[in-house]
Symmetry: C2
Subunit: 462 residues, 2 copies
């Protein structure tokens, strides 16, 4: 059916996209014509015409005396249909797949993990040999609902070192850090809720939150944490349900939350119903301790999660959630219902590796390598006119600004064709305001070819 | 506020439970007073009074000119608040936790897995030793989006052995069988959809589907598969989105789908929009091949899933989904968004174990052990007046009926206090019509104490 009349068409498109993204669920009553007209600031007759045409097209049905309803069955959930269309180079799912599928000889200065040879492989191998010699139930049996008690007791001590007090009953193991956030999302969020993230933030937060069909609002990130005035305004404007952030080393900026921002943030959260999820995935890369919101809050409104995929292994999956006791009990039920049991063998390998006497020494060496690389890579980037936003104290990331007029997305396209995978700024930015930024992983920048390719690609852009 | 008037109170309770279970989402318009009255078959004035009181209690808000809305924030998702309250002995989540947390010296004739020593531990240990000697990216690096190509090619050949044609691009690895079903649920289902399950069926299907907030309808299971007349009526009455079943050995009955029921089932499904998920978790326990719906259908409306937790290890997590190509692509996106990457090390251990030359021989021995135990346990149960519903050809389960007047839930309570964990029939039954059934796992029935405890508990019931 041909569509005429800009307003009617706009109303139809808006409703169809709400159906596609499941903002309107199937078999659900649409707002009344009057309410819809008010909400969309169009006339009642425009909505009447739009509804009638959508009925004719089969997208919605009219139930006499009861109003208009979405039709029964909808297309399967397609994450690519949710939210505005963006270039694939800044689409979180495309970037993830590109990194995960990259050919073994690709250069990946944009990727978010350490090269294999920088990880403590000796410890993992020792754990495997040890398990191969045992007749332990760890080899074959289901995990207990919360996961290994020994691991939870280890995490209890580890959290105490961050001034977070949690009993082992307040800790649950998960398959990964992402799985931890996903479970919390299923527990706390409903479609249409608002979630605050840092802008920029880890890009898979965007994809994950899309799958929960929530509104994502980015809070500008400063070198000391989220911009507290923006945070306060967002609380008032959106009544967000959740704020999802990194503790310790921030991804992608490498910044640390300051004590004063942490305190103000938590004071604001306390005055609202906001829950904060603090993702502590980079804890073992920290060289100076940033404050943890969960330590200040005592695991009341703050949930601490983490994993070891950045420091032990990304192939051996193990994450955790620390939260208040009754939430953990409900999260355990949700975990059983949706995964039945955790990956017990993986958690045992990770625990043995973390408690191996060589792990701490390996981390110290790793800190040294990273410090050296941060300086070396900074220098090389600066010589190309690419300026680090800050000089991070620790971690693997450099968040860098391109010189005026250079477009990071275009640069990423050009470099990809030469086998160099970059991470353009807007993939991290909900507001799409980081078009002239790139995230570099200094540990993945040891090959001089990266800088040669960058140099040529930058020259072509001018 | 005191509640008077039975009907008003009933309407209020119904609405409150819909809010608690998220059938009504937060910040969402309630049905109009007129529509609600019609739906609940009460007068308009009853609904007006119920809405007014709910506004006074703060559960809903009135927006002048726009109707009544659920309020903004809701309590976290509590699976125990969804659906009718049942005794803990037949509550799927309670039974799962009881089995997963059971003390090492408990006797567990009701549990759904094999004892460790019946599994192929030699193969798992060999895989661990082999990996410990390697410098493989399997130790530390993220999995590719679909998971190991070698594993997917192995599954391709394996599926072909079941007459299911799937390319390796139509297969995606998951963390487990439950994770596979959960991803498909997130992909295809919306809250309020109807899903058909077998009655009885694997009890965690109930808990899983609760987490998706769908209506669950049970189809009586016969020794040849689901009752086809009931299936046809349910299709007409509920327009279900999904039918979730076992292929091969059925849990809990040990029955096989017959060729004629498979054909009629699929013919009915083809005439509707129904998607069928076939969980092939017991494939390696089959001694005579049952038909696979996915083989008849060619992975059009049928999705095949499986895992190796019953035959390789429950501690090493690995499952898979085989489906049509475009669905797999969208499921990959959903997997990345919600778990980022799969457990690569686990999938490598499982692949090495499955392709170890000793695996097939071990399975043959296992088939012999199970056959012997099915006969021995049947005899002992019959002598106690507990009758197997059928004599299964294969697998570990005996679905048994108690003599008249005996209540399985009560029996489970009595035996639990003596350290014997049973699986009472109603935990498997959506219609709660299996109060006089128990599921026995013959592999967990080697200790004569089980039958002594049963004998005494049965005597006490009379």
């Amino acid at each position: 059916m041909a569509r005429t009349g800009t307003l009617i068409e706009a109303v139809m498109t808006d409703i169809e996209s709400k159906i596609a993204s499941r903002a309107y669920l199937p078999n659900t009553r649409l707002p009344s014509v009057r309410a819809q007209a008010k909400a969309m600031q169009v006339s009642v007759s425009t909505v009447v015409e739009a509804y009638d045409r959508l009925v004719a097209e089969g997208s919605i049905v009219s139930r006499p005396g009861a109003g208009f309803y979405t039709s029964g069955h909808i297309a399967p959930l397609d994450l690519n249909q949710i939210g505005p269309k963006v270039a694939r180079e800044i689409d979180p799912l495309w970037v993830s797949k590109e990194s995960l599928e990259a050919a073994p000889d690709s250069l990946m200065p944009g990727c978010g993990w350490l090269p294999s040879e920088w990880l403590y492989q000796t410890g993992i191998k020792r754990a495997l040999r040890h398990l191969a010699r045992s007749n332990s139930p760890n080899l074959t049996e289901y995990a207990s609902p919360k996961g290994s008690l020994a691991f939870r007791q280890f995490l209890q001590r580890r959290l105490l070192g961050l001034n977070i007090e949690a009993s082992s009953e307040q800790i649950m193991l998960t398959e990964s850090g992402t799985h931890a956030i996903d479970l919390i999302g299923r527990f706390l969020l409903s479609p249409g809720d608002t979630v605050l993230v840092d802008d920029p933030c880890y890009f898979n937060f965007h994809a994950l939150l899309k799958a929960h069909r929530v509104n994502i609002v980015g809070i500008p990130y400063t070198p000391n944490g989220p911009d507290i005035e923006c945070f306060e305004r967002a609380l008032a404007e959106y009544q967000p349900r959740l704020y999802l952030t990194n503790s310790g080393v921030h991804n992608p900026t490498g910044a640390h939350l300051s004590h004063s921002v942490a305190h103000r943030l938590l004071t604001l959260a306390k005055a609202s119903e906001l829950v904060i999820v603090e993702d502590d995935i980079f804890a073992d890369l920290e060289t100076t301790r940033a404050p943890r919101l969960a330590a200040l809050d005592g695991l009341d409104q703050v949930i601490e999660i983490g994993s070891f995929s950045k420091t032990v292994s990304a192939s051996v999956r193990c994450g955790y959630i620390a939260a208040k006791r009754d939430w953990i009990e409900q999260l355990v039920d949700l975990k059983i219902a949706t995964t039945f049991s955790g990956n017990r063998l993986d958690s045992e390998i990770v625990l043995q590796t973390l408690t191996d006497s060589g792990y701490r020494k390996h981390m110290e060496k790793l800190h040294g390598w990273l410090a050296k690389q941060r300086i070396s890579v900074s220098k090389q980037l600066i010589s190309l006119g690419i300026e680090p936003w800050i000089q991070p104290k620790d971690g693997m990331f450099l968040w860098c600004r391109l010189s005026t007029g250079t477009n990071a997305t275009q640069l990423a396209q050009d470099c990809l064709s030469k086998g160099v995978v970059l991470a353009p700024g807007n993939v991290f930015s909900q507001s799409q305001s980081a078009h002239d930024y790139l995230r570099f992983n200094v540990a993945q920048c040891t090959d001089p070819k990266i800088f040669d390719v960058l140099k040529i690609a930058l020259r072509q852009q001018i």
